[in-house]
């Protein structure tokens, strides 16, 4: 019994030569999607306009997996729907596969059905009145392709994503995971260079989600399409993306590789949105060639990763991640030693989180030992792991 994702991984491992005409494994990487200064405004009931997307510029090359990450209401889904042609931007330019599909200056706008892209919806949007086969065949039938060819292509893609057993069923008669795969197959079958994903994994449970992430990455490696993936889940973003665009109130806060975004966040917003952090607000005491000292409620902390130029007296926030901190019951004798009160240990399997408080504010570190509730505890953290942003 082999699971579907094993099938995907196996075909990938064997490197089956690409016989499918719909699969175009291009060797050189070209720009598939270019967005320039796209804006979209919404009108509130009281007449004021709110920018949902505010001058966003992004580019995605073939084989790239761009994740649009942000909290709900940051404009990520609106941006995706603008790319798809389901909503009209108010300004900017969108180029898909070398073809301008929207331009406010040139007054070009192609409708959704004229744009060569595929999309996987959050609800999967499988048509309940069509069988799995008909669902997958639908995009091909809109393109004047021979019947025999359609049948071949549908069966091939169904086998690839592991749903060939349910191909004659109606979508409501198969499991959630299978529905997810049907939606995926339908998006991939036409071999479009650009595939959009609107939080497609948000409806499946954690275990299936993990499997599907691996499958999705394998499929993308195999087909080489460019992907734009909307999510608010940072785990999805980190594992799937080759590039993450963190959105904040309709603007791009940072675009970089997952590693870069995590290790070198561009702003306090990005740092706190991705991964967990400890935040210490305070004032700059002194600045030297390699770093600066900040006076915080827990004591003076040294940082060697300032983001921007700071002068003594500036109001700043020092941020470090729990995995970079370690806890000791006595002063550790390092540059940074912050005094707090021990509260509890939270064991989560791969690591144990030590929770300390100071003035009702909670701080977490992943290294150290459990100690008595209410006892004195010292947090140590290397200065090069402490980021400083303006407040």
């Amino acid at each position: 019994m082999s699971t579907p994702q094993m099938a995907v991984l196996k075909t990938k491992a064997e490197e089956v030569p690409t016989t499918t005409p719909t699969v175009q494994a291009s060797t050189e990487s070209r720009e598939v999607l270019t967005i320039t200064n796209v804006s979209k405004f919404f009108e509130r009931a009281n007449g004021t306009t709110v920018p949902a997307v505010d001058g966003v510029s992004l580019a995605v090359r073939s084989g790239e997996f761009l994740v649009l990450l942000g909290p709900s209401g940051c404009g990520k889904t609106t941006l995706l729907r603008c790319i798809a042609g389901l909503e009209q931007p108010d300004a900017g330019r969108i180029v898909i596969d070398g073809k301008t599909v929207y331009s406010s200056v040139e007054r070009i706008e192609l409708s959704a059905q004229q744009r060569t892209l595929s999309m996987v919806f959050q609800s999967y949007a499988l048509w309940p009145n069509m069988s799995v086969f008909d669902n997958i065949a639908y995009p091909l039938r809109n393109r004047k392709i021979r019947k025999a060819q359609i049948t071949d292509d549908v069966h091939r893609i169904a086998k690839l994503v592991g749903i060939d057993e349910v191909i004659g069923q109606f979508p409501n008669h198969i499991s959630g995971g299978q529905q997810q795969r049907v939606a995926l197959a339908r998006a991939l079958v036409s071999g479009d260079a650009l595939v959009l994903f609107d939080e497609p994994l948000s409806n499946v449970d954690a275990k299936v989600r993990k499997d599907l992430r691996i499958e999705l990455t394998a499929l993308q490696n195999r087909f080489g399409f460019a992907a734009v993936y909307v999510t608010h889940d940072q785990e999805d973003a980190m594992e799937l993306g080759t590039k993450i665009a963190v959105l904040e109130k309709g603007k791009v806060a940072q675009v970089a590789s997952p590693r870069e975004v995590y290790q070198n966040p561009a702003s306090r917003y990005v740092a706190t949105f991705i991964g967990s952090t400890n935040e210490l607000e305070g004032k700059v005491v002194s600045v030297d060639a390699t770093g600066l000292y900040i006076d915080t409620p827990l004591g003076v902390i040294r940082s060697e990763r300032p983001h921007g130029g700071f002068a003594p007296g500036d109001e700043v926030v020092a941020i470090f991640r729990p995995e970079h901190g370690y806890l000791t019951p006595a002063h550790p004798g390092t540059v940074n030693a912050l005094k707090a009160t021990f509260r509890m240990e939270l064991f989560s399997g791969s690591h144990a989180e030590q929770v300390v408080t100071h003035n009702h504010k909670v701080y977490r570190v992943w290294h150290g030992q459990e100690q008595e509730h209410g006892s004195e505890a010292w947090i140590g953290v290397a200065p090069e792991k402490v980021h400083v942003f303006e407040r």
Binding site: F41, A84, S104, R107, F121, N142
Partner: protein
């Protein structure tokens, strides 16, 4: 009279006017917000839908305006005469008796409907078929036919139930027992009103109980509250809006209903508003239009008030306690009471539908309404007599043709308009939507009165034509069909159509492959209900039909005035059988054609990989 018509004609262009302005505004505002270079704004679909929608809105708005004007303008002169005439009537008695019947039937309907809904949705006395069937009863046994059935059962001398009661009393040694109940009385009227009211209150209360978060009740029980305390402190407050909405729905339907008062009220010598209007317009010579219009106004004020109150309650959502998940609790266990509850529910259905139907069939098949049923005379000879009677046949043929044509027109229009409203702008779409649903909110009777004033005189001279009946049926049935179509469109909208467009399908392909197949089940259901409603209608039929264009409803009204109950029973039986068959066929077809939405039946065979 002439000037009234000409004035109303002047009115008709503005009826479409504001909409066009509104559309212009919506168009402008969208044009300002963003350039839509590639958007085809006026596709043929949009133009057709718009024209149809505005046409149908005019069909109800213009008669309404006519009613209003007729109240103040007679023969081209401003006058208060109609108002005075109206007030000279026994107006307090009329309104009073209508209120008594409607309000007391509402109280009973809420109590019975609420109890049935609670038993069926929240306890283990639940019977699936019952909950499917109960809201359908007005369509299975239409009020026109049902009223006749109740007369046959509860008439003071000949009624089957009363006869049995007196016999039973004599058996127990009471020789001169009075009848159990007289249908021709306040009690009788209220009884029949209540039976039909229960379908409406149940229809509103049951869904509220179904989606009510079970955790609320469970939380109450966990904290140690008894079943009754949970019911009164938790369940009832949570569904209060639905209860109020159900009650008001029935008030607004019952206030303008013509069928039951016409069939029973006349015999009971209890005048109700709607029945008086019919009498003034149809059975008075010359027709007293002024007074009829004045009375119509009273009805529309009450109905409008009930509607506004109801939509306010439904919109406020103050008590909305619907759980986020579709959590379905284990139903409340009734223990030894379960059998009793089930028995009561079955008895209720038997008494309220089976008994009247049986009485109708008995009289229709034996040809006589007698206490001692002559079992030997059972046969279809009386049906044959009706079928050979050219006048009766004309009525039947008219009703069937009108039902089929009107239902088809109405469903197509409703689907078009719902799709159009779903796609057009907020303000403009809402305007069209309200316009289409207007007849339901103002009382069908008032609109028909307006049609009588508008179309029967010059310049239309449509009096006594089948065409006028068709127009009236279409206008009256559109709101209900429109609500069904809205639900169907809502189910299709959003990602399902968007994903078809993304797949490169053209507008028409998306419509025929995705939208239409998904809407068909709901539309077939709507078609059946409209067909049955037209067939059993008395509102438009009593006012607009005549000897030249008879329909079933009109003939039944005539027969009930002559007191020929055998023929009446035959017609009522035909009506009931056709209605039941149509509705059940539609329900069956709806299930069959949406078979893909139902979960597959659990297979008895073990899956291959487990063998």
């Amino acid at each position: 009279m002439t000037s009234t018509i000409s004035l109303s004609e002047d009115k008709s262009p503005p009826a479409g006017g504001p909409e066009t302005i509104e559309e212009q505004a919506a168009f402008n505002s969208r044009g300002r917000m963003g350039r839509k270079p590639g958007r085809k704004k006026l596709s043929p679909f949009n133009i057709i839908s718009l024209v149809v929608a505005v046409g149908f809105i005019a069909l109800t708005v213009v008669p309404l305006c006519t009613v209003l004007m007729r109240l103040f303008i007679v023969n081209g002169q401003l006058t208060l005469a109609p108002l005075q005439e109206t007030l000279e009537q026994d107006i307090l008695k009329l309104v009073g008796s209508t209120l008594i019947v409607v309000l007391s039937s509402t109280v009973f309907a809420v109590l019975i409907g609420g109890a049935l809904a609670w038993l069926n949705e929240r306890t283990d006395a639940r019977m699936g078929l019952f909950s499917d069937l109960l809201p359908m009863i007005p369509f299975l046994l239409p009020p026109v036919a049902g009223s006749v059935g109740w007369i046959l059962l509860l008439a003071p001398t000949g009624g089957y139930i009363n006869g049995a009661w007196i016999k039973m009393m004599r058996f127990f040694g009471v020789p001169e027992a009075s009848p159990l109940m007289d249908i021709y009385s306040w009690g009788g009227l209220i009884l029949v009103f209540t039976v039909y009211g229960v379908a409406f209150t149940y229809m509103m209360i049951a869904p509220a109980l179904r989606v009510l978060d079970a955790n609320l009740e469970e939380q109450s029980r966990v904290t140690g509250a008894s079943t009754m305390r949970t019911l009164f402190k938790v369940t009832l407050p949570a569904i209060l809006p639905a209860v109020a909405a159900g009650a008001l729905l029935w008030v607004w339907v019952a206030f303008a209903t013509v069928d039951i008062p016409s069939m029973i009220g006349t015999g009971a010598d209890i005048s109700m508003l709607s029945q008086r209007i019919v009498n003034l317009l149809v059975f008075s010579y010359p027709p007293k239009q002024g007074v009829a219009v004045g009375l119509s106004l009273i009805i529309s004020i009450v109905v409008l008030g009930a509607w506004l109150l109801q939509s306010n309650i439904l919109r406020s959502n103050k008590f909305a306690t619907v759980g986020g998940k579709g959590s379905r609790s284990t139903p409340m266990r009734l223990g030894k009471w379960r059998g009793v509850a089930r028995g009561a529910m079955i008895a209720y259905v038997l008494v309220t539908t089976a008994l009247p139907s049986l009485a109708l069939l008995t009289v229709a098949l034996t040809g006589s309404w007698r206490q001692n049923i002559d079992w030997g005379s059972f046969g279809f000879q009386h049906f044959e007599k009706i079928f050979k009677d050219s006048y009766a046949m004309k009525g039947l043929a008219n009703s069937f043709t009108l039902g089929i044509v009107a239902a088809t027109i109405v469903v197509v229009v409703a689907a078009l308009v719902s799709l159009y409203v779903a796609r057009s702008g907020r303000v403009f779409g809402r305007l069209i939507d309200v316009g289409i649903k207007l007849p339901a909110t103002l009382g069908a009777l008032v609109i028909v009165v307006g049609m009588v004033l508008l179309f029967t005189g010059p310049p239309f001279y449509l009096s006594g034509t089948t065409f006028l009946l068709l127009i009236a049926y279409c206008a009256l049935c559109l709101p209900n069909a429109s609500i069904s179509a809205d639900a169907a469109v809502a189910g299709v909208g959003g990602e399902l159509t968007e994903s078809s467009r993304i797949s490169g399908a053209s507008e028409s392909k998306t419509f025929f492959k995705v939208i239409l197949p998904l809407m068909i089940p709901a539309l077939v259901g709507a078609w059946a209900l409209v067909f049955v409603r037209v067939l059993s209608d008395l509102t438009a039929s009593s006012l607009l039909a005549g000897a030249n264009n008879p329909v079933i409803g009109f003939q039944m009204l005539e027969l009930s005035r002559y007191g020929s109950y055998t023929d009446l029973s035959v017609l009522a039986s035909i009506l009931a059988v056709v209605s039941t068959v149509t509705v059940l066929a539609a329900v069956w077809f709806g299930r069959w054609s949406s078979r893909w939405t139902q979960a597959p039946k659990p297979s008895r065979r073990r899956p291959v990989n487990l063998r």
